[in-house]
Symmetry: C2
DNA sequence: GATGAATTTCTGTTAATACTGAAATCTCAG
DNA sequence: CTGAGATTTCAGTATTAACAGAAATTCATC
């Protein structure tokens, strides 16, 4: 891959900025953006050059992205260096990201809420607080149960479903009588 | 409101931690958690005491939360100080948060992607990059169009819908013939 | 198993963000 | 108007997270 075009640079910078707003390291997001745009797997050195950050920083970011499961290590014929490529399927990519954030952040929160509600007897949990936590817990359980099911739908089904939007309501009414 | 129980403290700390992971200031999230748990509106001074942070920090956080639209200023009879209360309806609260994040972060990104695709003629946008950006753009347009519609549904409709989960698929098939 | 390239880990530095306390401003009763 | 309480702004400080460069390790080849 040769030097980045201004459009590619703009995209990568924006993506990095977006990352920081959602609690993702800027460089990690930039590396991901670069690999997403790259037609071929890139070696770490090239990422270093293209983004202008330290080699070690790239190494850490790649580890992080592999941990998320949206970047993987591949080998290229005649080159003994590790190369890296991003998923290119956007739907799959976001599904994985959502799954991971659910697993890392939301599930532990749900667990905490559940534990709190259970401990209500022993520890002093007043009625008002219990109510608030109960409602938060219900919200999370309901939405996550839904997400877990929907995230398993094949992409074609999902897109067709999303495109229905409001229409789904009337179809549901019709479908039931 | 008297001193926080250990359960309340735990919840507030967890919520603050959760905030940082999603790009929200820890104190802002803590103030929000505290007000969410509070049966009555609280004056800034009391928040300061309960959370053990600087008065000015609370002031800034309250401004931020009001900007998001999930906390509002109210007055209490016989007390000239400003008091603050959080929304207590969880569904409404998350709807507002999602709306805001969409408005602040996702919409500008969509705009950027659209602009890039339009500029493809003038600036040098190679076919591969165009494809990648097109797919990202499509993903965002589809999912945001869906969200915009669904977020307007009354809560009762939304919860009933979510609880269907997978069932919605068979109902849709049935409904159409 | 020695050699050199590639990669990762680690530590100190830098940059960004959050926070405090003081000062300034606002508000309103008297 | 005046003054006390309440609130916000702001400049400096502290904390945290990100990063670079050096050192250590791994890996493949001979």
């Amino acid at each position: 891959m040769k030097a980045l075009t201004s459009i590619q640079q703009k995209f990568i910078l924006h993506w990095g900025e977006m990352g920081t707003r959602w609690g993702i390291n800027r460089t990690v997001a930039q590396v991901h953006a670069l690999l997403y745009l790259s037609p071929d797997p890139l070696p770490a050195d090239e990422i270093t050059t293209l983004l202008g950050v330290a080699r070690s920083n790239v190494s850490t970011s790649l580890k992080e992205l592999q941990g998320w499961g949206i970047v993987r290590l591949v080998h290229v014929m005649g080159d003994k260096r590790d190369h890296f490529e991003s998923l290119h399927d956007v739907w799959e990519m976001f599904r994985i990201i959502l799954d991971e954030r659910k697993r890392r952040e939301i599930d532990p929160t749900r667990e905490m809420l559940r534990a709190t509600l259970n401990a209500s007897a022993e520890e002093g949990l007043d009625e008002f607080t219990r109510m608030r936590i109960q409602e938060l817990s219900d919200f999370m359980e309901t939405s996550m149960a839904w997400y877990t099911q929907v995230s398993r739908w094949p992409q074609s089904v999902l897109t067709r479903f999303l495109r229905l939007g409001d229409q789904v309501l009337s179809l549901l009414k019709g479908g039931r009588g």
